[in-house]
């Protein structure tokens, strides 16, 4: 086995995650998406982050 096989398997895994999610998650709507840049948007940052403290 060479490294190309490993890379191929990992990329298949990623495509599989996205495909699985597309079939189970809420549908996408680009018209309700946030502006391209958070800076200057006037909106509070709402994305999840690993450093965010847990809810009380």
């Amino acid at each position: 086995m060479i490294r190309a096989h490993v890379t191929g398997a990992v990329l298949v895994l990623i495509v599989g995650i996205v495909a699985f999610d597309a079939g189970t998650a809420e549908p996408l709507n680009p018209y309700t998406a946030p502006p391209m840049l958070a800076l200057g948007s006037g909106m509070a940052a709402a994305g999840a982050h690993c450093a965010a403290p847990p809810p009380k």
């Binding site: 995650i17 909106m43 982050h49």
Partner: protein
């Protein structure tokens, strides 16, 4: 694989192949921007940039710490500190002036946080891959990284599931440096660590190779862009746990027993498309960028190393531990060390000390686990 296919991988790709690959990547980014929104397409592109930079400049976090511990070569650690200083120099003023739109990687210091960082440091030396490193290694065809990755994700999900229990063991309030004085303290702190590393390191460690300077500039620029686009600093491990949470819910699992996963924000993210999650997109990009760079320079033809069964067992356990401990520690080398210190969080400094001590242990564990020859 046929001989023709093997030959195609072992030789550098031609101009046409490279053009097709770049067009395919551009098409994927554009498709995400169109179906999910422009911010998400841009975040995928930033993730690709991180992957290209880390693989292209052969830069990381685990290797430099290992070389500092084993060879007293401080150059890689010095490069990391310079990169964080550059990010902090821009991020602090941005956060001070735009606190409503941008947020730092701020987390509380606690018992579990310190223990998690120590264990993470040990595990990252066992698999020779940290948060970003495991993704880059997996993307560039490293079998250890590829095997560790799914278990890293499972561990991240489980660590988040239990996070509240762990933080209840004892945590301080969040301490975050901010503004001009906060930046000054951060830069002095980074300078002090750099000076200590150079004192302890072997002579000549201050000379950084050109590729390190390339990595410093690329990573700092991308990290600042990430903050401007996402409104939050670069992170890795939340997305990995989210993928598992989505699978658990899809197969009928119940997350209501977890204060973390049942919180409204996380419930919404589990239900929403993965293409709207910041860390998932940059994680996908990291893997894709590393794969593209490895293919670009014909680095995918080398054989995968053969390891004993106990070594693979150690990789699986280390992957689980990496994921679990990184949640307790409020981040990995990226979310806690790089982004935490870069945006003023005191937990980033404590994470660094604990994880470096853990790395010292992890470096010494590798031979006994069959992952390298005993000396």
């Amino acid at each position: 694989m046929s001989q023709a296919a093997s030959a195609a991988i072992s030789s550098s790709p031609g101009a046409l192949s490279r053009l097709v690959a770049l067009a395919a990547v551009a098409a994927v980014v554009l498709a995400v921007a169109l179906v999910a929104g422009p911010r998400y397409g841009l975040l995928l592109l930033i993730g690709l940039g991180f992957g290209l930079a880390l693989e292209g400049f052969r830069f990381g976090f685990t290797g430099p710490w290992r070389r500092m511990i084993l060879e007293r070569d401080a150059s890689g650690l010095l490069a990391q500190l310079i990169c964080i200083a550059l990010v902090a120099s821009v991020a602090f003023p941005l956060l001070a002036a735009n606190g409503a739109e941008l947020k730092g990687a701020h987390a509380p210091i606690g018992v579990a946080m310190i223990g998690g960082a120590f264990v993470f440091g040990a595990a990252m030396q066992i698999v020779l891959g940290c948060g970003s490193g495991t993704l880059v290694n997996a993307g560039s065809g490293n079998a250890i990284g590829a095997v560790a990755l799914p278990f890293f994700a499972i561990g991240s999900f489980a660590g988040a599931y239990h996070l509240t229990w762990w933080t209840n063991l004892g945590s301080l309030p969040v301490v975050a440096l901010s503004g001009g004085p906060g930046l000054a303290i951060t830069l002095v702190g980074l300078g002090a660590v750099a000076a200590l590393a150079l004192m302890v390191g072997k002579p000549g460690s201050y000379r950084l190779p050109a590729r390190y300077w390339g990595a410093i500039l690329a990573l700092a620029g991308l990290a600042i862009l990430h903050l401007v686009v996402a409104g939050q600093p670069w992170g890795v491990v939340y997305g990995l746990g989210l993928w598992v949470a989505k699978v658990v819910v899809a197969v009928g699992g119940d997350l209501s027993g977890s204060a973390f996963w049942s919180a409204p924000g996380n419930q919404a993210q589990v239900a929403a498309s993965v293409l709207t999650d910041v860390t998932s997109l940059t994680d996908f990009g990291l893997i894709g960028g590393a794969a593209l760079m490895a293919w670009w320079r014909a680095g995918l033809a080398s054989p995968v190393g053969v390891l004993p069964a106990r070594a693979w067992g150690a990789v699986i356990i280390a992957g689980l531990v990496l994921g679990y401990s990184s949640r307790l520690a409020f981040g990995c080398n990226i979310g806690a060390f790089f982004s935490g210190i870069g945006t003023g969080s005191a937990h980033g400094w404590v994470w660094f000390i604990a994880a470096f001590a853990g790395s010292w242990v992890g470096v010494r564990l590798r031979p006994s686990l069959g992952l390298e020859a005993r000396k």
